[in-house]
Amino acid sequence: MSVRIYVPQDATALSLGAGAVAKAIAAEAERRGVEIELVRNGSRGVFSLEPLVEVETAGGRIAYGPVKARDVPGLFDAGFLDGGKHALGHGLTAEIPYLKQQERLTFARVGITDPVSLDDYLAHEGYRGLKNALALSGAEIVQAVTDSGLRGRGGAAFPAGIKWKTVHATESAQKYIVCNADEGDSGTFSDRMIMEGDPFVLIEGMTIAGMAVGATQGYIYLRCEYPHAHRTLNAAIAAAYERKHLGTDVLGSGRRFDLEVRLGAGAYICGEETSLLESLEGKRGQIRPKPPLPAIKGLFGQPTVINNVITFASVPIVMDRGAAFYKNYGTGRSRGTLPFQLTGNIKYGGLVEKAFGVTLRELLYDYGGGSYSGRPIRAVQVGGPLGPYIPASQFDAPMDYEEFAKVGGMVGHGGIVVFDDTVDMAAQARYAMEFCAIESCGKCTPCRIGSTRGVEVIDRLVAGEQPVKQEAVLRDLCETMIHGSLCALGGLTPGPVLSALNHFPEDFKKPRVVAAA
């Protein structure tokens, strides 16, 4: 009987050498005349152990990692095919504390199944949500999503059910479901991990949305920086069509849902929903003023549900286990779970899905183990490049949309970027303005011009040229950007700038040595 071995095909695992490890295992097995079945799964999200090799045994899956190609003969010698002991061994994968203490709902299958095997998806409770949904009316599906308390996971946290309800109620011959997979925020990769590790859950979620609002066409707008996700999505969509889970007769219901992946082209602003729609229409990704809302006039002027990857991917479990099950997780108005991403200068980086309410400190230290460099953590940026910097004094804040906002933070997409005490916060503030200048779509003046002036003012402030005056100008400029910008790019860029200035003023007053060589 052949032994089943799992080696992730996830982009992060590959970036650490998983491809070479898979090859080495196949070659070594052949050399020894052992029959194996190599499955290229998604990542479990414990990146300190990647490449993480798992062997299926009678007692469960046994983990070894981080494995390098040169470790492979030694693993065979140690009898890892039977779960034998080895210095890189971690016992049962499911018992690894980093994983065991998580609450994986959306990520229940990621790292466990073969991402492009529909059979594997079905064997792991896949498509049960859609089957339930097909027995309901559109309004009932919308009600279930509303009752679950699910809010948009892209960052804006708008209740998904309300968005869907608007599209459901708007009459039109053609409606669209659009997935925002333009995950451009630094410090985020949960969308990517779903698309590479469990693409069917996204496909199922979008199909349910189509059934709920009466849309027959879906698009996944994927950033072109994710070639691995692109391949996996296309393979999964092809498999779903093949087996009638997509197309003219979804699961024999007689109802249609088509799905296509479209690639972005390296514009951060296209993560903003109206820019994304412009881009899908084949235009420059310039934002549209709202109203009209995309739910009423969206893609090609038609009613459109546009949600982030994680939002759609959380719908199948809501429809499978029920709204109450999902709503039971979380605190306050933040219901369910959020896949947090521990990134940057962190010892144990990875994906931690927890119910809302977990504190930043638990994530940073209990899971993350402190900084990668071993130095004290000085600041973290939560919520992407537009998220304010959080100083160590606020690490006890709970991750809950409303509670975290009270300390000036933004939960956003759950990305957490860690900086140790070598960080220069004035440089980070400058970068925030620079990034805005590079990525501004140019539609509104506060963002387009303000960001460029912002860089200049910070440079003068740091150089000590009339610092009191420069700081006043910078604060005034930020005020203008916050209130005068059309969308979140210009409106939120002041967040990281002002938080750096308020929490770390000393970094703006350091005597500077002219560009040390």
Partner: protein, 171 residues
């Protein structure tokens, strides 16, 4: 770096050299294959860049007339998106991440090293035509930075030494 936003290339369109017969055939093949898609322009531009490595300025008129758009619209879209390029790149594209998570692990120093080692600035191509260096704002590998992508292959935990190994004997 001081006093202004890091120099952004203006990317003026080079004078449009007429397309050669082979190039024209490839561009037309892409257009014919994709023109029926709703919002076909981005897929077409991706197709052309996949086929030729860039979108030759000489292709703008052809794309515009075939898709019933103005040249200004096509030009506007090409220049809006960082990914589309109007001049022929080196044999391999090296995208270096500049975003915050990689910064927290020293990507700024790696960026300086890369530019020195290759002898080019961002958007430049090495003298031997082997590499084009591009900045990228996040590759989604934020827990294992600094990251770079070399011709679609992602590399994590890159330092000066592993960078030199990757680019091998580049000038």
């Amino acid at each position: 770096m001081k006093g202004q936003v890091q120099e952004q290339p203006l990317r003026p369109m080079p004078a449009a050299r007429p397309l050669g017969a082979a190039e024209r055939a490839k561009v037309l093949e892409v257009i014919v294959r994709l023109r029926a898609l709703p919002g076909a322009l981005l897929p077409v531009l991706h197709g052309v860049q996949d086929a030729l490595g860039y979108v030759p300025p000489g292709a703008v008129t052809l794309i515009a007339s075939e898709l019933n758009l103005t040249r200004a619209e096509v030009h506007g879209v090409i220049t809006f998106y960082h990914y589309f390029r109007s001049s022929k790149p080196g044999k391999q594209i090296l995208q270096l991440c500049r975003a915050e998570a990689c910064q927290s692990l020293g990507s700024a120093a790696l960026e300086q090293h890369a530019k020195r080692r290759l002898g080019v600035d961002f958007h430049g191509t090495t003298a031997d035509g082997r590499y084009t260096l591009e900045p990228v704002y996040c590759l989604g590998n934020c827990a294992c930075g600094p990251s770079l992508m070399l011709d679609g292959e992602l590399h994590g935990r890159v330092d000066a030494e592993s960078f030199d190994e990757l680019v091998g004997g580049a000038s």
